[in-house]
Symmetry: C2
Subunit: 573 residues, 2 copies
Amino acid sequence: MTVFSSFSRAFHAHSSSKLLVLFSVSSGGLVALSESQAESDRPNAELCQTESKKRVVVLGTGWAGISFLKGLNSSMYDVQVVSPRNYFAFTPLLPSVTCGTVEARSIVEPIRNMIKKRSVDINFWEAECLQIDAENKRIFCRSNLDENLVGNNEFYLEYDYLIIAVGAQVNTFNTPGVSEYCYFLKEVEDAQRIRRSVIDCFEKAVLPGLSEEERRTNVHFVIVGGGPTGVEFAAELHDFVQEDLIKLYPSVKDLVKITVIQSGDHILNTFDERISSFAEQKFGRDGIEVLTGSRVISVSDKLINMKMKGEVLSMPHGMVVWSTGVGARPVVKDFMEQIGQGNRRVLATDEWLRVKGCRDVYALGDCATVDQRKIMEDILTIFKAADTDNSGTLSMEEFQAVVEDILERYPQVELFLKSKHLPHVTDLLKDAEGNERPEVDYEEFKSALSLVDLQTKCLPATAQVAAQQGAYLSRCFNHRKQCETNPEGPRRFRLSGRHQFHPFQYKHLGQFATLGGEQAGAELPGDWVSVGHSTQWLWYSVYASKQVSWRTRFLVVSDWTRKFIFGRDSSRI
Amino acid sequence: MTVFSSFSRAFHAHSSSKLLVLFSVSSGGLVALSESQAESDRPNAELCQTESKKRVVVLGTGWAGISFLKGLNSSMYDVQVVSPRNYFAFTPLLPSVTCGTVEARSIVEPIRNMIKKRSVDINFWEAECLQIDAENKRIFCRSNLDENLVGNNEFYLEYDYLIIAVGAQVNTFNTPGVSEYCYFLKEVEDAQRIRRSVIDCFEKAVLPGLSEEERRTNVHFVIVGGGPTGVEFAAELHDFVQEDLIKLYPSVKDLVKITVIQSGDHILNTFDERISSFAEQKFGRDGIEVLTGSRVISVSDKLINMKMKGEVLSMPHGMVVWSTGVGARPVVKDFMEQIGQGNRRVLATDEWLRVKGCRDVYALGDCATVDQRKIMEDILTIFKAADTDNSGTLSMEEFQAVVEDILERYPQVELFLKSKHLPHVTDLLKDAEGNERPEVDYEEFKSALSLVDLQTKCLPATAQVAAQQGAYLSRCFNHRKQCETNPEGPRRFRLSGRHQFHPFQYKHLGQFATLGGEQAGAELPGDWVSVGHSTQWLWYSVYASKQVSWRTRFLVVSDWTRKFIFGRDSSRI
């Protein structure tokens, strides 16, 4: 026992200082979301000890919240975290949890474990924020542990800065029957529920006294939504059925059917076309039916009704998983009403992740979108500011003096250049024939940039965006003091001086989709696309290395090993 | 992928043929419940193929049911298994599941996995038996998967032999508030619920705005019942709190309290006194309060009321785990009414595990007790049968001719000899001064055996008894044909001939109780008692070797390893 406990202690010490790397990644560049970057960016803590600490309240412990907390120099602030989940979940592995390829517990890490490793105090309250009072800078919370709680379970917290990172909830688009009869795949509990239900469907299908039609219906699995989550679930389910369940339920092995319903023309339509069509071909070979161009009208306990190419269809089903679209949570909806954003889908922030319409409130992750300022709104101010000699025309030198600031403040300019295959930003000012102009006047300048704003892109609601936003914001908080005196951001065209911080800039590091049968598709930086078995191994490496702790890394890898050796478990627990 | 899948296939093949042993046990004799024995006992299957197969219906997939199925030569019968749980759970590790030392999924094995390994068909239905109709030899079942089931979920099964092995349920002794406010520890789901609740209690206790008294109450854990389950849970909880939780919830570390309420004078009172007092001393050192001689009167959401040495006490609590006593399940209660056993606690069977009062129904495990026939009921018949020369007296030779049969038919005789420290059974017939008598008459014979029946013992409701009963019964079923012509049992004193089978005889292989801090107590065969750290290692070995499959063995051992390295998880899932 003593040997073991000292070993254990030794390991604990090592694990927190991150000594070794279990998996190295061949492709380079893709991995390691924000971890390393944020750490090195922290300024000296003692700088800020002179005045009383500002109170930072963080709502949510998902990708955005955790990434913020990991990066934040918490000795500079009085940090309080409120979330109904006392753990962080590695959501990209949720589809694997639905079929027991990975255990639920292997993809979660308790917040308090993560906090414990920091030398300073961060308070965590397992509670739900019910209301945000931005006027009085406080929030109202209630513990969701009503049952048997001794004492009052409601409390207020006051803040100087509020970080809203509560994520989103499933969007049923008010389709009748969805909330009653469909399974979702957003939380860890959802994945566990799906797992039990899949087993149940098989147990139902083999009961004595059922007709073949009834058996067939019980093992008909319908997935609504052909995005990465839906596709990965379909693939996992197919593997689970083929590799494990048909051996245990041989009497229904020819009756199982998996159907994916997608409103667009292709599944995985946020991915490169090559991946999307590879997935469709693979699904075709596997016998997974993909119904594109179909929209679900309603769901009942026995039937799913949909419109497919103008025709109304009904399909009997054993189980429906709804995995399409996200919407704002009630507390966010309520807050949006308060600050005049009531008609929006999610919170709008500026490029510094500050919620528009109130002070000292930040929002990141799935509950918010960055509302990129259009260059055409500022076009006159930019022109005037750039025209330093007040000549009414912009010389190439004058333009080049502001071009850096323009590119940083309005990233759509760069996207526009890319889409037009223009190598240099000065190419913008060329005339219709492509000849350089020594000078442009206001109208010419305006018309040269007039189409730029069309390239403004909404960031996708992914873990990667959320994690980068969290890391970005923590860096801003860590550098608040320095940047007050030495602003680092781009020039303010409408006002004088510079912005305090660089605006948030998303760097797309690529994306993965597992397609079953040990195959995956990957989109990597530099338009590099990879599909097949080797990509699945890349996926294993990347997902193992991305785990937030050595504990979960160990657990996930041993779950994969266990699956290879023993298959997946089919117990109904 | 191909490498892995062929490896996986190879391993599957090996695992079913049981090639290697992971843990060897130093003490010998204790391990391997029934596994090896039953296998070698199977007669040649082809013997019985001549007539149509008899239908055997097994209710339940606990220790008794699984042990029966494992031993049964299922090619001789048409076997159907009905249980609401599609898995077998290794219940002795349930207390470890409550605190995450072992994961729930590591101690369960799907029934269909176990069936798949047998070459012949066994049908399993995930359903609950609601009624037994012994008159018409059929049972009425309903799938507990009401939700969304397509088709009829009710069905009848007809049987030639029925094996009732449904186990027992928690007995609240009608104490008010117990079923509403207490946690139980009988099923895997119960253990998972307790785990979540323990974390909840800590999350509640650290919420802002609570008084110290309220915090203290939230982390006051009360365990009712000082049997092995209750004691092991208390020990696990203490370890969980001390080794993991107080690091994560430092603000309440001095407020946590664990109380064990026991109605008897000592905890672990079915164990040897040395183990029981070792446990009490260890709990004393650990600060676990043991309230002996206390009876719970009622439980409310906030208070537990009890009577302690005549005095009525109330204690505020954060959580109560009720772990005392078992009672019959509704279907068994109903069946008992039917066959005139309505006033009993559990089903009564004879020594061959046949339910008294009906034909071809067997009951084993926690839902039944063996009702040992009293020797005094048969004393005259025995005397007459033994008195072969009809002399009215029994000579020593005459007595010795029947003594083997008596010892087998009435095992209480052996217990009586042991309790009186009599080395030979013939010592029974000595006179009051201890002198041997050449002959005894009926009255002397009767008086010599008059106190024997007081030694009749009820078998405890343990996994060990259930497993041995299952193995015993499967052997009887496998030898039914042979034993019809060559009965193997003891002489029938009331009728002629011999009993078809040996009666069931329980062989106590010892018992364990883990006491926390890597210490355990063990009672081993031959009155050998062992306590302390080495016993805990013995416990690890035995429990690893007793696992029903290589999969669960691998999982349990890796869970233990994980606990040593990373501690237990405190996520609320």
